[in-house]
């Protein structure tokens, strides 16, 4: 039994044994910015999301009921019969139950609401996607993560598993654990979603990015959450 366990551990990629959030690779000043809610500009989005939530959502939901929600998304959506991420779930809720046009992806209202809901799960561990119906999407995400893309012909694995911790130009290559989304990125000068971040990597290797909300992004997100299961959520994180 012990030998089997040791073999299993050896079979795991290095990142699965020694995982670190991008937080640990940041400059001390940027870490201080994230730690202090007064300095963290992401809290401006959370505050806006709180106002929107209290105005539009409290007929069905309460603040307490939102705790832990972000830790278990993407989840299975019964209505569409497909996996759905947190931002998609929020816009679907607006469309189905409030009967108004849903907010666009990456729009300020949707980012604010998503940041607020995800903030309620800060400090909670990301749960491993356990719904068996998610398995095909999880496998698709795993395949996408390992697939070489674009003119540079690079896959996610080559940077974020094989060379994580080393440097790409001036920056440390993170292990790509989505622990703090939506997050405030200094480069963006604003809050953005994980899909925006994935898009950045895709255009970086000069491949055609998927459209916002595409099933491929949700599959990737699902795989990344599986990979980061057990790590603590930091929303709203700050990243350089």
């Amino acid at each position: 039994m012990k030998r089997l366990l040791a073999l299993l551990l050896l079979a795991l990629p290095a990142s699965a044994q020694d995982r670190r959030s991008g937080f640990e690779d940041m400059a001390r000043e940027t870490q201080a910015m994230q730690r202090d809610d007064m300095q963290n500009p992401g809290m401006l989005w959370v505050a806006e999301g709180e106002d929107r939530f209290n105005r539009d959502c409290t007929a069905c939901h309460s603040e307490a009921s939102m705790r832990g929600v972000a830790a278990r998304y993407p989840a299975w959506d019964e209505a569409t019969g497909a996996p759905i991420d947190l931002a998609g779930r929020i816009s679907a809720c607006v469309e189905r139950h409030q009967r108004v046009a849903p907010p666009a992806r990456e729009s300020q209202p949707l980012l604010a609401l998503t940041a607020y809901v995800a903030h309620q799960s800060r400090g909670l561990p990301i749960s491993r996607p356990s719904d068996p119906r998610l398995a095909p999407a999880l496998e698709q995400g795993r395949a996408l993560y390992g697939e070489r893309r674009g003119q540079l012909d690079l896959s996610c694995v080559q940077c974020h598993d094989d060379n994580a911790g080393r440097r790409l130009a001036g920056s440390t290559i993170p292990q790509a654990h989505p622990t703090g989304y939506p997050l405030y990125r200094l480069e963006w000068q604003g809050v953005g979603s994980l899909q925006r971040r994935l898009r950045g990597c895709m255009t970086g290797v000069r491949s055609e990015p998927f459209a916002y909300g595409a099933a491929e992004y949700v599959a990737l997100e699902l795989f990344l959450n599986d990979r980061a299961a057990g790590m603590l959520l930091e929303t709203p994180a700050v990243r350089p």
């Binding site: 500009p41 809290m43 401006l44």
Partner: protein, 106 residues
């Protein structure tokens, strides 16, 4: 109205050095960046921040296009008497916002 986060101590002892911290949501568009169509976007920044305590200016700052979005300002003053701390941001396109916080000095 831009969203702000302000931290002014509710109470302090006379003579104490107090720290005031402000964070305001603002794009701080530099006036040098092109948009997706290639046109240079006009400058839109906060130009001046002033903080008055009981009517007297205790801190002010001139902001420039090099300052990042959502500027965070932190400064100290001495608690002299109970009163209001008034913070004003003024900028391009008629941007003006004033926030007040009460402080009790014992």
């Amino acid at each position: 109205m831009a969203r702000v986060l302000i931290n002014v101590p509710r109470s302090a002892r006379r003579g104490d050095v107090i720290t005031i911290r402000t964070l305001i949501q603002h794009t701080m568009e530099t006036g040098y960046r092109p948009n997706a169509q290639g046109d240079v976007m006009p400058r839109d920044i906060i130009r001046r921040f002033t903080c008055t305590y009981d009517g007297a200016v205790v801190f002010s700052a001139e902001l420039s296009p090099a300052i990042a979005a959502n500027p965070f300002l932190s400064f100290t003053t001495v608690a002299t008497s109970s009163g209001t701390v008034t913070m004003t941001w003024e900028g391009d396109n008629g941007f003006a916002q004033t926030e007040t916080r009460a402080i009790e000095v014992t």
